[in-house]
Symmetry: C2
Subunit: 142 residues, 2 copies
C-alpha cells in the first residue's frame, strides 16, 4: 500500500477523520475536511458538524454558495426560512444560495451532520448571521 498522498503536492487528497481541522463554535463544533485554506484547488467546502444536546446553528444564509446537509447521526430540527422540519440519519436537505436556514439538535444524543457548500471560490461573505434580526430572532422559543 502506498504512503498517503501529501497535499498540496499531490492533487488527489485524502483527509482522514483524525486530520480534520477543529473549530469550536458557540453551540457546535466544526471538523473541516475541505476548505480554501486547507485544500487549495478544491472548489467545495466539506465540514462535519457536531451539535451537543441543546446546541445548534442559529438562522443564517450563504449569499453565494449552495449547501447540502447530510445527517450522520442523531436528530435535527431543521428550519428552512420560517418552516420547521425534522431530519434523521441518511436524510439530506439542499439549500440554494441565499436561503435562510438553521439547524438544532432535536434529540437526546449528539447530532452529527455533514455540510457541503459550493462553490468555494464564490464572492464573500461566506455566511451571514441573521439570528438577531426580524423575523428570525423570535421564530424559535428560547
Amino acid at each position: 500500500m502506498a504512503d498517503k498522498p501529501n497535499p498540496p503536492e499531490c492533487p488527489g487528497r485524502i483527509v482522514s477523520n483524525d486530520e480534520t481541522t477543529f473549530e469550536q463554535m458557540d453551540g457546535r463544533a466544526h471538523h473541516w475536511y475541505l476548505s480554501p485554506e486547507l485544500t487549495p484547488g478544491a472548489n467545495m467546502l466539506v465540514v462535519r458538524v457536531q451539535v451537543p444536546v441543546g446546541g445548534g446553528h442559529p438562522f443564517h444564509h450563504h449569499p453565494n454558495m449552495e449547501e447540502c446537509l447530510y445527517v450522520l447521526s442523531g436528530r435535527a430540527e431543521q428550519w428552512i426560512e420560517d418552516k420547521k422540519y425534522e431530519m434523521g440519519p441518511g436524510d439530506t436537505i439542499h439549500l440554494p444560495a441565499g436561503m435562510v436556514h438553521a439547524t438544532y439538535n432535536a434529540g437526546d444524543e449528539e447530532l452529527s451532520f455533514l455540510a457541503i457548500l459550493s462553490p468555494a471560490d464564490s464572492d464573500p461573505p461566506g455566511i451571514v448571521d441573521v439570528s438577531g434580526e426580524k423575523p428570525w430572532r423570535s421564530l424559535r422559543p428560547v
Copy 2:
C-alpha cells in the same frame, strides 16, 4: 411542524433516506439524493453508494466534475491513479476533475460512502470508464 417542502415548487428541498432514487449497478448500488433530473437547480450531485463484500467501482474519471467521497461505514480500498490507499468511517478523499480513481470494498462488511460531485451542470460526459484500458485493467489482481 410543517409539512415537508415539495420539490420543485419549494426551492429548499429535503430528500429523506427513504426517498432516494435507487440504481443497481454492477458491484454496487446507488441511492441518489441530488441529481439534475431529481433536483433541478441544485448544482451538485449527491449519491450514497453501497458496496457489498467483493464489490466496487472500477477505474473511471469525471472529466469535468470534481468529487469528494466520505466513508460512512466499512472499509474502502481507494485508488488514486496507480496508487492504493485504505479509508474508514469519517475519512474523505477529494479528486479533481479528470483524475482516475476506483473504490472497492476492503472489508468483511458492506462499505457505504457518500459521493458529492460538482458542478452538476458541467459538460458531458459525467463519467468515463477506463477499467478496460492500460494500465488500469491490470493494476488490481482479479
